[in-house]
């Protein structure tokens, strides 16, 4: 009996969520006395594979076929199926990422396991806690049976890494053309060198209070100085001031950074639903009645065009001190 965790790679490197999911799986394995096995799909370096030991993984199965460098749901499900057979997995753990959300349901149906999506903590007495109603409530899920596929919400579980080293075995997966759902014709990098929003620990976000797209320079400077990712409110994405993929909120992307700085965003309930799980919220708005202040940890009432450059300067000083 074992717990199998999918450790995700991007561009040949293990992702942060690989360690997060592995650490969660390690906690689960400890609860049940099961072995912990990780599977890595696609190109990855030997050092990276062995480094999963830091999250408590003893054994890594590696399917090195470079056609697995990018996910399609069928090819990944087939590879995961091979790994689950090899590991004798009774529990499979994935990140609740674009990859995990896509293949967890497939593998759950294929192996007739119960799917528990988007959990935020290790189970207590067999009950898993999950954020629901767009962060406005918690649900406690009681899954049926003990054969489970679990996806773990990114940035919600805290974990520490040790100094273990995992042993690596290669995993043979027979893939034919029909095992790929579709052809990926092109991949466009949209991150502009920033951590992608769903994974970002620091986010600087702005809204209509910026008055026009030409004024985003000061937002980008603050984000750059902090090493943060930029985001925006729905209205500014809808009118084309900012790209759609920056829209955070109930109908855009839901995020859970350590720090969310909202500048010139009034704080409509739909926006809050996408950011209310941030650990610390800072609001800068010239309207003292902006509803966002009620959801914030720190606030400044003031003109963004005056306040933001001062914040940037203060961050610069802090970094140099």
């Amino acid at each position: 009996m074992s717990v199998l965790v999918l450790a995700e790679c991007a561009n040949g490197k293990l992702k942060k969520n690989a360690f997060e999911a592995a650490a969660f799986a390690s906690g689960l394995a400890a609860q049940t006395g099961a072995d912990l096995v990780a599977v890595v799909l696609g190109s990855a370096s030997a050092d990276d594979l062995a480094s999963l030991g830091k999250a408590g993984v003893a054994r890594v199965l590696h399917a090195s076929d470079s056609r697995l460098d990018r996910m399609t749901s069928t090819s990944y499900t087939k590879a995961l199926q091979s790994a689950a057979d090899a590991a004798g997995a009774s529990i499979i753990v994935l990140s609740h990422s674009s990859v995990g959300k896509t293949i967890a349901p497939r593998i759950a149906v294929r192996r007739n396991m119960t799917l528990v999506p988007g959990v935020s903590a290790l189970p207590e007495n067999g009950t898993f806690r999950k954020s629901m109603f767009s962060g406005k409530a918690w649900g406690d899920l009681k899954p049926e049976g003990d054969q489970l596929v679990i996806t773990v919400n990114p940035n919600t579980t805290s974990f520490t890494l040790g100094d273990g080293v995992a042993t690596v075995e290669s995993l043979a997966v027979e893939l034919s053309d029909s095992d790929f759902d579709y052809k990926i014709k092109e991949v466009v990098n949209e991150s502009a060198g920033m951590t992608p929003l769903p994974e970002a620990e620091l986010v600087v976000s702005a809204g209509r209070g910026m008055k026009g797209p030409e004024n985003w320079g000061i937002i980008e400077e603050l984000a750059g100085e902090l090493g943060a990712t930029t985001a925006c409110s729905r209205p500014v994405a809808d009118i084309g001031w900012r790209p759609h993929h920056e829209h955070v909120g109930q109908t855009g992307i839901a995020i859970k950074p350590n720090l969310y700085i909202a500048i010139g965003i009034s704080g409509a309930i739909q926006h809050l639903a996408g950011v209310n799980q941030s650990k610390c919220i800072v609001v800068v708005n010239k309207d003292p009645e902006a509803p966002f202040f009620k959801a914030a940890d720190y606030g400044i009432v003031g003109d963004a065009f005056e306040v933001v450059p001062k914040l940037t300067e203060a961050v610069r000083k802090l970094k140099n001190s």
């Binding site: 119960t114 949209e190 994405a237 109908t251």
Partner: protein, 246 residues
């Protein structure tokens, strides 16, 4: 081209969230229900646009009780041709996917669309469950969908990247922001919706595997600490020393 759009009923985005029956049931009192925005704004509207461009039919399917008639009529008013309601209490994504898979097999659709997640359960796995049950290709998190000769050209927005994808039909696609713009039904659509067919079918009886045992509300936020606009440095100090987030 035959398109099936799966829609879910959710509380309005501004609804106050509370629970009854010892925190085991969502409190529906004074709550307005809507079609899940990802299902309506992106999946359904794009399906209607494809129909208007290339012809075909758009059928909506929903798993729920007779109370769901109101959101189904909204979908028909927006322009769907007909609807299927599976008469059941929907308790988890697995149960709903199993019932909808049975409907989808009957109808031999070219394209099955759903939203990327519901705004109440936030599971995000329904499309994948359905695709596996139907042994179809699955394109998740699509932000753009165009019809080509015999295939679909799609874009997927994922963490920091956009993939451009070509997929054969039939397939399952989950939709997110970017795919279409929300529409408002016009008077003609609303009148026409009243006479469009809604087939009510009996479920096969698949049971939920991950029921919610109980709900709870997160603790209230403490008071916001205000910093003077002239004291920007003080805010950065607080973030560094007090909140310890930078």
């Amino acid at each position: 081209m035959k398109i099936l759009v799966c829609i879910s009923k959710v509380p309005d985005t501004t609804a106050k969230i509370s629970f009854t029956d010892n925190n085991t049931k969502f409190n529906e009192d004074k709550v307005q229900f809507i079609i899940n925005p990802y299902d309506e704004w992106y999946a359904l509207v794009r399906a209607l646009e494809l129909k208007e461009g290339a012809g075909g039919t758009v059928t909506i399917v929903n798993a729920g009780s007779a109370d769901n008639e109101q959101i189904i009529r909204k979908g028909l008013a927006l322009g769907a041709d007909d609807a299927i309601r599976i008469d059941m209490q929907a308790n988890d994504a697995f149960q709903v996917a199993a019932e909808i898979a049975a409907v989808a097999k009957e109808g031999s659709y070219d394209l099955i669309l759903c939203g990327k997640e519901t705004i109440d359960y936030n599971g995000g796995v329904f499309g994948g469950l359905l695709a596996e049950m139907l042994s179809m290709p699955y394109v998740s998190l699509a932000s753009k969908l165009d019809l080509q000769e015999n295939s679909l050209l799609l874009e997927r927005e994922i963490e920091g990247e956009k993939e451009v994808i070509e997929v054969a039909m039939p397939c399952v696609v989950s939709a997110q922001k970017g795919m279409a713009e929300a529409r408002i039904p016009n008077m003609r659509g609303i009148l026409a919706s009243k006479s469009k067919p809604v087939a009510v079918i009996t479920p096969s009886g698949t049971t939920a595997r991950v029921p919610v045992a109980s709900f709870s509300l997160p603790p209230e936020k403490g008071a916001c600490k205000m910093v003077d606009a002239d004291q920007a440095e003080e805010l950065i100090r607080l973030l560094h020393e007090e909140a310890k987030v930078i």
